[in-house]
Amino acid sequence: AQRVTQPEKLLSVFKGAPVELKCNYSYSGSPELFWYVQYSRQRLQLLLRHISRESIKGFTADLNKGETSFHLKKPFAQEEDSAMYYCALSGGMADKLIFGTGTRLQVFP
């Protein structure tokens, strides 16, 4: 079965603390993995994708095929990082996106 699991509904940290949002997936084949973010009153937007191996706004995510995980990390959280984060996968080449249930990140001053 194709599935994305985000075990934490809410993650609260203080500004400057490290952040790790967990994502595990189940997929037969080689999926494309993404992190999407939704800031308050804004639309869902792509944060980063595993194939690009990029760091966006200080966030990174490494695909671990052995553990079927794609955790999102940031060494020092900022208040503006407070948002809803969704992990998603696709089979590539315009395939549908399968989303997790999301994790709300709250960063306190």
Partner: protein, 115 residues
């Protein structure tokens, strides 16, 4: 470019009624996907349209149907509305370049409430 636009923003319908939601893709995009996002859940894929045809479909009943027009805009129709159809409906478009790891651009959504 306004990006992906959706109309209406909000909609209230009664059980048993029918509803049509509209989506205009981002300029240069030819593929439109629809998602349903229930409260507290992640978006769930409904179906995808490309070249005016339904290309992929998620686990949704036939009450959910769609259409894509020659200008790539799309409609989502839901018949015989149920209370459980209350959700945020998201439209996403993607570019003509069908390379791997393409990005889907999302609209602001239409909030449907069924009473």
């Amino acid at each position: 470019d306004a990006g992906v636009t959706q109309s209406p923003t909000h909609l209230i319908k009664t059980r048993g009624q029918q509803v049509t939601l509209r989506c205009s893709p981002k300029s240069g995009h030819d593929t439109v996907s629809w998602y349903q996002q229930a409260l507290g859940q992640g978006p769930q894929f409904i179906f995808q349209y490309y070249e005016e045809e339904e290309r992929q479909r998620g686990n949704f009943p036939d009450r959910f149907s769609g259409h894509q027009f020659p200008n790539y805009s799309s409609e989502l129709n839901v018949n015989a509305l149920l209370l459980g159809d209350s959700a945020l409906y998201l439209c996403a478009s993607s570019p003509k370049d069908r390379r791997p790891s393409y990005e889907q651009y999302f609209g602001p959504g239409t909030r449907l409430t069924v009473t």
